[in-house]
Assembly symmetry: C2
Homo-oligomer: 335 residues x 2
Amino acid sequence: MLYIPFDDARREMKRVLLTRGCPDDKAQKVSYELARNSLEGVYTHGINRFPRLVRNIDEGIVRLDVMPVKLHGFGAIENYDGQLGLGIVNAAFAMERCIDLAGTHGIGFVALRNTNHWLRAATYGDQACEAGMAAICFSNTMPNMPAWGAVDARIGNNPLTIAFPREGGHVIVDMAMSQFSYGALEKAQLAGQQMPIDAGFDSQGQLTRDPAQVIASKRLIPTGYWKGSALSFLLDIFAGCMSLGNTVAGIGRLPGDEHGLSQVFMAINYKKIDPDHLTGATLEDAVADLLRSTPDEHTERIVFPGQRRQEIKRKNLADGIPVDERIWAAVKALG
Amino acid sequence: MLYIPFDDARREMKRVLLTRGCPDDKAQKVSYELARNSLEGVYTHGINRFPRLVRNIDEGIVRLDVMPVKLHGFGAIENYDGQLGLGIVNAAFAMERCIDLAGTHGIGFVALRNTNHWLRAATYGDQACEAGMAAICFSNTMPNMPAWGAVDARIGNNPLTIAFPREGGHVIVDMAMSQFSYGALEKAQLAGQQMPIDAGFDSQGQLTRDPAQVIASKRLIPTGYWKGSALSFLLDIFAGCMSLGNTVAGIGRLPGDEHGLSQVFMAINYKKIDPDHLTGATLEDAVADLLRSTPDEHTERIVFPGQRRQEIKRKNLADGIPVDERIWAAVKALG
């Protein structure tokens, strides 16, 4: 394992993007966010994913020379065509637009079609929090999971983030609708480990913790079983229909690697309905109550959603970002 | 089992509410929605729950003579104090206000404090759909579940509904954040059955499908394990903070049965950003794709979220609503 300083990671990825003709401001933004994802411990959606992003650029399904174009708007709601631009750039644009709309209307709602993987959902929740607003954002994906009760993958794992600003660290949930990603299953398989809970079905339809069985059957389970399956479908409907874009079904009919996604962004300017500043104390009380939980037999301590990434960030800022030698070599070799 | 016609069920509950001095329009609304919940197969949140509602009225924690009072507003977002009124009446009021706001601003967002159990989340998603709008609504609850990794109940099962209108039946998810309710566990225990998947921890901290073990340990699991735990907390923060009301922690400090809840309602007037009416075809394509799923070994057919309730409604309209004799006798005896 190598330990790469944040700035080195960012600079190296920016260098590669510039070799593809990426405009400087976009290369700056994308390399910064990818490095930050790794810095905060979301390694799968940081540097590790960069070679795939570059491949998608080279394949022409991620375009460097476009920005979202407005389709329609009415008051606080708008939809945009992302023109298959960089997912991080498009999503940050959409959230910025939500924040502007929420400045005027109290809430902003943007649906975005024809966009690409935004990498990490929490990025855009965090963006709203930094502007003093709460946020809800979600994306659809290619079909990668069977609906509950089905064997063939027709729903997406459609990531969702919900974020609320907090002085001592924003409270943010960032969750995909599959209980485990293929990445997590493959990692456990390589390490010869079982998953801590049921991870999917084997080819006979029995729930199993064995990652190899689930990888073979391709029968991931939705988070919350039937509940996550239904939630995934509704998030997809919202994103695909309101953006006038692709649902998971439509994305599944596109050739090549995952692209042409639909996303929804909301920012809520809640401070405008809290003129006496009551929210902060309520939030601190709720966080404190959660942290007073008694840990169970398997757990050292209880954290609030978003707490761990702050701690990892501090550690990785001091020690460097842990990056697999082969991945770092692959990034260095791009150009 | 008795089979009670919808109108009889509604009339009997209305009669009881009137004996408590409930205004006629509220008695009409509450009895209609409770009967409809049973009609559509949500028995736990229909007639079965009516005796508890009447008890809560008699205890004075559900008040019949109040309506929500506006606290603050800015553009499309508003918050209200529900004054501990009837949960169904308050929630329908809040969603109606969202629909009005969305008529002007494209989206309406209402946070409601000091309210009571809304019975069935989908009711308010359905209300938006009937007005041609999409909706997201959620409520907090009393603390009834340990956070993931904890043994003591400090988070709520905070129900969530997401709804999108559809001519052939609205697409609606309605889910609480516990994988199973105590009601579902008790039903299985009485029937001597195991749950189909892990339902919680036993007192030694092992995952178990045995409802008796989970009831004894009080260690329900969140839907999606760590994911539902975090999602539950964020829904609570949104509802409690934005309504300037109670979070789950605050509700846990109130004496007596669950009351003083906080809720969030959103209606999205998405047709205003779909002037060419593209959404309907996209939605039908997504539903059709889902229904083409190949069922697994345990499943006869795949349905879309919201489909089953329509089918149960047709059956129960024809045959009457199945009601346990003892529950119906208890309702008849109220007065």
